[in-house]
Amino acid sequence: MIDITVKIGGEAGFGIMTTGLLLGKIATRSGYHAFEYSEYPSLIRGGHNVIEVRISDEKVYSQQKQVDILLCLNLETFNKHASEVKEGGIIVYDTEKIPESKLNKPDVNLTYVHVPFVSILQEHKLSTVMLNNIALGALMHLLGADLNILNAAIVENFARKNQEIIDKNILAAKLGYEKTQKEMPQGYKLKLPKLKNIIPRLYISGNEMIGLASIAAGCRFYAAYPMTPTSALLHYLASQAQNCGMVVKHAEDEISVINMALGASFAGVRSMIGTSGGGFALMVESVSLAGITETPIVIVMGQRPGPATGMPTWTEQGDLLFVLHAGHGEFPKILLAPGDVEEAYKLTITAFNLAEIYQTPVFIIGDKYLQESHQSVEKSIIEGYKFKIDRGKLLSQEELSKLTEYKRYLITKDGISPRAIPGMKGSLHQANSYAHGEDGHTSEEADVRIKQVEKRNKKAQTFLMNDFQMPVLYGNRQTPLTLISWGSVKAPILQAMSKFKDKFNYLHFSYLWPLDKIKIKSLLSTFKKTLLVENNSGAQLGQLLTMVTGLEFEKKLLKYSGRPIYPEEILDKISFST
């Protein structure tokens, strides 16, 4: 089995992220599976950026601790990460820029490759932004990959630039490739062999996948105010807006974001918004407005470590209970949390249907780890996913014309009232933030109040009956230990499981609210031993499950350093606790 991790580090502003992205893309195109993880501070220039790409001929779910090839564009990368490189690995660096005297070389057997990035640039009069292509060329040689694939990627990447820029970038890659060729000892083994069977795959981030899914689902209005880790969703949709006929609005603040989307949705357009914890905090009053006006909306809530501004570019799952409780008053909301890009695609499409079926806010809870990491996924899974756009009880003009009287908040058995769109003949109604009766007019009468509260609550029951999905159990049912988690933690858990198949199984929650109390309780009661794994300090899923089922979770693996959980940490914890 081939399983290689390449880590690239340097100062922010030198195209390191692009280098990693292109590397993952090239590996994917060559038929390999790839997973990317990046760490960077909230700075534009300076600071320390690293990106790692794990490449394998088997499915990869997450990053790993050990590094095979470390490419250092500055001294800090060398000294911080050299110890992560495993026996027999390679460290590439610029001897002219990084003085030998300052290096902390680890005590294991490594190959050091000297590539004078800076003098290559100077010699060939290339600009510093092309440094990343020298690095990519070097990596192409080290991995035994075909330089032509890189050249094709460069041509694509710079399609809008003139030929001279393209040629210079291609030259930079070639120089990096050739220099490395000269430096490398003959017959070293770390190469990626050419694969016979190349399965077409996408190399895509969680943000891009949510965006792609929203286009597929018929979302035609997206509003956001930039905030990591969800900004890239705004960038992606803004870049595609004219191609797919979507209006993408960068509004003045998050309060405006959600209210514009509610307006567009009231007027009949499928609408989505995206933010992170701080921005979402500003939206909370309007989540409640969506609840009482029964306006569909899909909200992408990308978590990052808080409180307040917290650690903007890092990852955490600290907002589950915040989202669960967001919005004053009582109304149903639906919480979904994809664990990988494939789930992100399917759940986003589902979210749009659920929002319109239940006429209530639906959340896609992500985090920096899922949303910003690129990973490969079979193209056929995305292309072949069959779904139907279900607009719930949205009335057609024909259906509306047949009604003698239209009541927006009609009391119904399932709690869902027929919805008409302003502009349709006979649609006259109001969506009211005040408590109201069936016709939408303000009412403070006790019996009217009770009926409308019960009507809205009923929607949660209907959801549990018709659309709720139980958590999925991965692995062998018979193993003595069950890991329990949600969202992006699926990645390191499945990665750990791929190595030790019979040690544990994994219960993955992606439908987080409303929960079917009885079914969940009886399922949880069948497990002999459990280990709750979460990327937060409060074991928030654990708290939620305890609230719903009364069951307590004793053993926990919680991480809240702003870093994702590593498969190695899961295996350590398991061998310790079994």
Partner: protein
């Protein structure tokens, strides 16, 4: 100024005084619960007269109401409406307009709602030249919450929340709108219904962001800015004394806020609206765009 023994306004929940069939009543809803003599009555009548005059169909008119005595008009004026949160009516209205730019979209808000709680939205809606009409009930107080200062209150105004008098100077709605890119700015008085109808009609017909700031005496919580107080100061803008297409002249008029106060169209210029600037919307409203789309081109970007 004595606000202490003023009567509180009637509760937000109106009793259906005269239930009417929604399809035959034009725009008339329930009978208002405002205090007798409240300036809101004049605005309400003027709105209904304008919509009838413009031959609007209640099914095809969208109104977003703010929260306040003014916003309570949601139950007195029938149209396809969205009763918003306090301060947030403007973004709702922008969303509606983007979704269906064929619908006229009108926002009915109080001065606290529009210039205080929602002040940021107001600035940005003007900049964007979103094609909505914002009708502000400028009574210089918070009516519904029983008489605190509004951002439009004159310096020194005593209220429940400023018993010693407000320290801040008032916002200047007209100057604010003109300076932030609004393309139609007018000022009216709820004591002059004929002019109000004219201003609202012009505002709604205008393509782009329009503000109609309306002096609306609150007879319960503002004893100072009464009908007579306004009548002593207002004068009408005419083609002789003002050119609304001229920014300098509009700016000058916007500074007349104490001794002489102008009524009429202060500013009226043309600039492409937000929705007219989006190629996605050139054919038909967003609402009518197809939901199913060939995904191949989007998927292939990631191969």
């Amino acid at each position: 100024m004595n606000n202490n023994n003023s009567i509180p306004p009637t509760p937000a929940s109106p009793k259906p005084v005269a239930p009417v069939s929604e399809h035959t009543a034009g725009f008339s809803g329930y009978f208002p619960t405002w205090c007798p003599g409240c300036g809101n009555f004049g605005i309400w009548q003027a709105l209904k007269m304008t919509f009838n005059k413009m031959k609007f169909d209640p099914d095809r008119l969208s109104i977003v109401f703010g929260i306040g005595c003014s916003g309570n008009m949601n139950d007195f004026l029938w149209a396809n409406s969205f009763h918003a949160l306090h301060g947030r009516a403007i973004p709702n209205a922008i969303g509606i307009k983007i979704a269906n730019h064929d619908l006229p979209v009108v926002v009915i808000v109080g001065d606290g709602d529009c210039y205080g709680e929602g002040g940021n939205h107001f600035l940005h809606a003007a900049r964007g030249n979103h094609d909505i009409t914002v009708i502000v009930h400028d009574n210089r107080v918070y009516g519904l919450t029983t008489g605190q200062v509004a951002p439009t209150a004159s310096q020194g105004f005593k209220s429940k929340s400023t018993p010693q008098g407000i320290i801040e100077v008032p916002v200047n709605p007209i100057a604010l709108a003109v300076s932030q890119g609004a393309t139609f700015v007018a000022q009216g008085f709820s004591g002059d219904m004929n002019q109000l109808v004219e201003l609202i009609e012009k505002g709604v017909a205008h393509k782009g962001f329009s503000l109609v700031n309306i002096f609306q005496p609150c007879v319960t919580f503002n004893q100072i800015n009464s009908y007579n107080w306004y009548r002593d100061r207002i004068y009408k803008l005419t083609s002789e004394n003002h050119n609304p297409r001229d920014l300098n002249s509009a700016w000058q008029k916007s500074q007349e806020v104490t001794e002489k106060i102008p009524l009429g169209v202060v500013y009226d210029v043309d600039r492409p609206t937000y929705t007219d600037s989006l190629p996605q919307l050139s054919g038909k409203p967003l609402l009518d765009s197809a939901l199913n789309i060939d995904l191949a081109q989007f998927i292939n970007d990631f191969v």
